[in-house]
């Protein structure tokens, strides 16, 4: 494949991505607009400002950090899709990691981007179908899913996910993973309150991992 073809494919990905993502952004805003127009219920400015003030500054900073951290992992197409369909930490990023590992391709390569996007797209479609089916069957499903006996299982979703994922991926990158894993465990044990906002620490952990890897690389240990 020539460089020109690669370039034009990448360029069209960015163009299509922009159209889809911003288009979906407009569609998202359509919901509150439709509510306001149809029910003649435009939001009270003070309440809107108060509500936004309590979440938007943090969510927008975290959102920006997520873009900087996850875009290099997901590639262009994967990012344009994953940032619309959401649930990045729990679904899209682990799904991409597992897919790259399964197809034995690397992130940051055209092959990695294609495989990762297939994974993100399949995950998005399956999640959407499950949620829609769940909404249709909400009455019979609610007592089952809200059974207190099942609560401990769903409360432990992230440990159950990252235990297996950790073994699968850390095993192959033991030297790169050692420093950030030790630093992050130490940090969260010493300051437990930080555990509630782990997502904010993803770029910090990534930065620590990159710095440690750079030093090891320069010393010829990697």
């Amino acid at each position: 494949m020539t460089n020109t073809t690669v370039r034009s494919y990448d360029d069209s990905t960015h163009l299509l991505g922009k159209i889809w993502v911003w288009g979906m952004g407009v569609m998202m805003i359509l919901f509150p607009v439709a509510v306001s127009v149809y029910y003649d219920a435009w939001p009270d400015a003070t309440a809107l400002f108060k509500g936004l003030l309590s979440i938007a500054p943090m969510y927008w900073v975290v959102g920006m950090i997520e873009v900087i951290t996850y875009v290099p992992m997901l590639g262009a197409s994967g990012s344009y899709l994953a940032f619309v369909t959401g649930n990045l930490t729990m679904l899209k990023v682990p799904c991409t990691m597992a897919a790259l590992d399964r197809a034995k391709v690397k992130s940051g390569t055209p092959e990695g981007e294609a495989v990762g996007t297939v994974a993100v797209a399949v995950s998005s479609i399956v999640a959407l179908l499950i949620l829609s089916l769940g909404v249709l069957l909400i009455v019979p499903l609610t007592p089952i899913l809200e059974n207190p006996k099942l609560a401990p299982a769903f409360n432990q979703l992230l440990p159950a996910l990252f235990g297996g994922l950790g073994v699968a991926l850390i095993g192959k990158n033991l030297k790169v993973a050692a420093v950030p894993v030790i630093v992050m465990i130490t940090l969260f044990v010493l300051v437990p309150s930080l555990a509630n906002s782990a997502a904010i620490f993803v770029p910090i952990a990534a930065l620590i991992a990159i710095l440690a890897a750079r030093i090891m690389y320069k010393k010829g240990w990697l």
Partner: protein, 248 residues
């Protein structure tokens, strides 16, 4: 005269249905495009089928957990809004606090199921939940090309370091969440439950790996992550009961 409003009005379902159909189209569009791209890059169909199997099976359980979030939010907000917010852009970690903050701003709470939301209250909540989460949608198209050009330049300058750099990014993400799992260990035995569950998950993954290597059960590879996750979640129930029994 304003129309009668309920949080489960059919009009809301129609709007949400239209938006979700568009999201589905976007997913299908990128699936077809990346599938063709993968084939043109020489990736075999069989490999892509394996990726589909792994991704689809892996998604089921986390999606059910998101559905539980939808059910929880639906008591106050009805089904359409949580269904939309948790299917597009959102994540349960963001949507619940956003809905709670918005509900408080209009003088109620998510837990207050005794009073019904009025249209103006619902409107504020819908606006706050939507505008609060739009950062990714706005910044991704602006920053994506620049960020990936940086990765490209790195790759051209030093390919080996570029590979290590990408691995470090992934390891950073995993280590942040592994660290979080240890965040409650100072609270006593109950705080160790997530650690025990993580260890069970890791153990199941090692067992699955051993079966694949020693017994040549290659078909298990597609389900390894799902098995370790679901197995550990199932084990979380007896582990939690045991720990709570000891603590009590």
């Amino acid at each position: 005269m304003p129309r009668a409003f309920t949080v489960n009005d059919s009009f809301l379902y129609i709007i949400v249905g239209i938006i979700l159909l568009l999201v589905l189209s976007q997913s299908v569009f990128f699936l077809v495009r990346s599938w063709k791209r993968a084939l043109s890059l020489g990736i075999e169909k069989g490999t892509l089928h394996k990726v589909v199997k792994t991704s689809a099976t892996f998604t089921i359980v986390p999606a059910i957990s998101v559905l539980i979030g939808v059910i929880a939010l639906s008591r106050k907000l009805g089904l359409p809004l949580p269904w939309l917010r948790l299917s597009v852009i959102g994540a349960i970690t963001y949507e619940t606090p956003a809905a709670e903050a918005a509900a408080r701003a209009v003088g109620t709470t998510l837990g207050d199921s005794a009073t019904l939301l009025t249209a103006p209250q619902y409107s504020v909540i819908a606006w706050v939940m939507t505008l609060g989460i739009l950062a990714g949608v706005i910044f991704t198209p602006i920053l994506c090309k620049r960020l990936l050009s940086g990765v490209d330049r790195l790759e051209k300058r030093d390919r080996k370091w570029s590979d290590i750099f990408m691995s470090a990014l992934f390891m950073g993400m995993i280590s942040a969440f592994l660290g979080m799992i240890f965040g409650h260990v100072t609270e006593g035995l109950a705080g160790w439950i997530p650690v025990f569950v993580m260890l069970v998950s890791a153990l199941i993954m090692l067992l699955v790996g051993a079966c694949i290597k020693l017994l040549h059960w290659d078909w298990l590879t597609d389900y390894a992550l799902t098995l370790s996750m679901v197995g550990a979640m199932a084990m979380a129930i007896p582990i939690t009961n045991w720990v709570m029994g000891v603590v009590a």
